[in-house]
Amino acid sequence: MRKAVIIGVGAVPVGEHWRTSLRDMAVEALLNAMEDAGVDRVDSLYVGNMASGSFIEQENLGALIADFAGLGNIPAVKIEAACASGGAAVQEGVKAVMSGLEDVVAVIGVEKMTDAWATDATRYLGYAADGEYELFHGASFVALNALVMRYYMKEYGYTEEDLAHFSVNAHANGAKNPYAMFKRPIKLETVLKSPYIADPIKLFDASPVCDGAAAVIITTEEKAREFVDKAKMVEVAGIGRAIDTINLANREDLLTLKAAKVAAERAYKMAGITVKDIDLFEIHDAFTIMAALSLEAIGAAEKGKGAQLAVEGQIAIDGDYPIQTLGGLKSRGHPVGATGVYQTIEAVWQLREEAPNQVPDPEVALTQNIGGTGSNITINILRRV
């Protein structure tokens, strides 16, 4: 099979874009990526988006965005896997290129969340859970994660302060990212003094509701040479995706992200690597508890030791397992369906060594994108060409 290589990335900063609509954010990000890649046309477009129908009463984003970006009569579809829509869309683009069916594809992740009332946004996010058995009973996504966090703390003896280290790390790194929503460092006290939204989850354990759009251009290794220098090429060397029970209560083990475990094994095998070969990790810290469980599922920490990595500072930019190198979901922001593509472009910046918060000399990066409470997870391995 052919290699899939990312040759261009583009985005708009994550934030509350009151003046900008979904279509304008998406077109801007897409044109930025096309300019970065030096391409003026693409064979197809894959749009990662979770809930535009709910948030802004707009579906059929493939047609909307390709049309307004002036891409002509190309194939363009929306890919949905809840908050993992962006990671899944990248994978669909990679599969199209690897299969030989399409040569130059664009992938965009986009979400416009701030046009909805806050309580409605909470409801729409809840659509990714089991509607009839979770949302029906008043479960928000924060609440579902809170149930896991409390159980994790009890099982392994962690405190709220232990988990707060994840937020502090994310903000320390995001402070240097011009595309991040919250560009400022915070202290442990900031997290611990923030109000509970669903005990034991506090406001600063959670990622924000926001808007964003990020895009990448993917092509074959051969074709890549027509457009860019080798220094700009980043290979998508491995992809893995798996589901788990939609209903949190039905999990085999509440504290294992089995979908991440399975997806990581697939991605590592395809890339021919182990977790030890990975130089940086952009994981899905929608809530601090998810960062801890993710580190365990991908093999960076033993079961029950994920939060320990944060407490020991091993997740810092100069640690053994640098995570959220440009802010993660907590500080860069979590425009749900766009997040997986932001993670991808951050990994590309790191591997091209043009990141504003650079990991020294990285070869391999991992991105992990979670949909639902772990019910749909993508893992991508990116490698320098």
Partner: protein, 136 residues
């Protein structure tokens, strides 16, 4: 926001929501809630209804302070994972309980309560919640 759809959408779940009926795999004996047509454990499609006792213990809990739209009236409310006597875990609100009294392993029993209502349309949704058992 949140206008109810057809009454049938809620009414069709009366067995699970009002009586806590789950399914049991005829092949391997595993019990599930909510009901399933296929046993994920052994792959069998031979499933039968099973009446659950509605008794269980709190496995984990939270207090929902920023609820999804439609639940504002109840906030803040406790939400829990309850491990039923028969094995399955179910997510539900706790009711008739002081939030400071909730703890790991607390015994609870199922009751039927109002889940939410819709302004203007008059439709009221009922379902299970759990409370500390009333001692005889």
């Amino acid at each position: 926001m949140g206008r109810p759809m057809q009454v049938a959408r809620y009414w069709r779940h009366f067995k699970e929501k009002y009586r806590m009926v789950g399914t049991k795999c005829k092949e391997c004996g595993e019990i599930y809630f909510p009901p399933r047509q296929v046993c994920p454990k052994c792959g069998s499609r031979e499933m039968e209804d099973v009446q659950l006792s509605g008794k269980g213990k709190v496995l984990s809990w939270t207090i929902v302070r920023n609820p999804p739209s439609g639940f504002e009236y109840f906030r803040p409310y406790p939400l829990a994972l309850i491990e039923l006597e028969e094995g399955p875990i179910v997510l539900a609100q706790l009711t008739d309980v002081d939030e400071n009294q909730i703890d790991f392993g607390m015994e609870v029993e199922m009751v039927t309560r109002k889940i939410r209502e819709f302004e203007g349309d008059g439709l009221i949704l009922y379902g299970y919640k759990f409370r500390p058992p009333i001692k005889p």
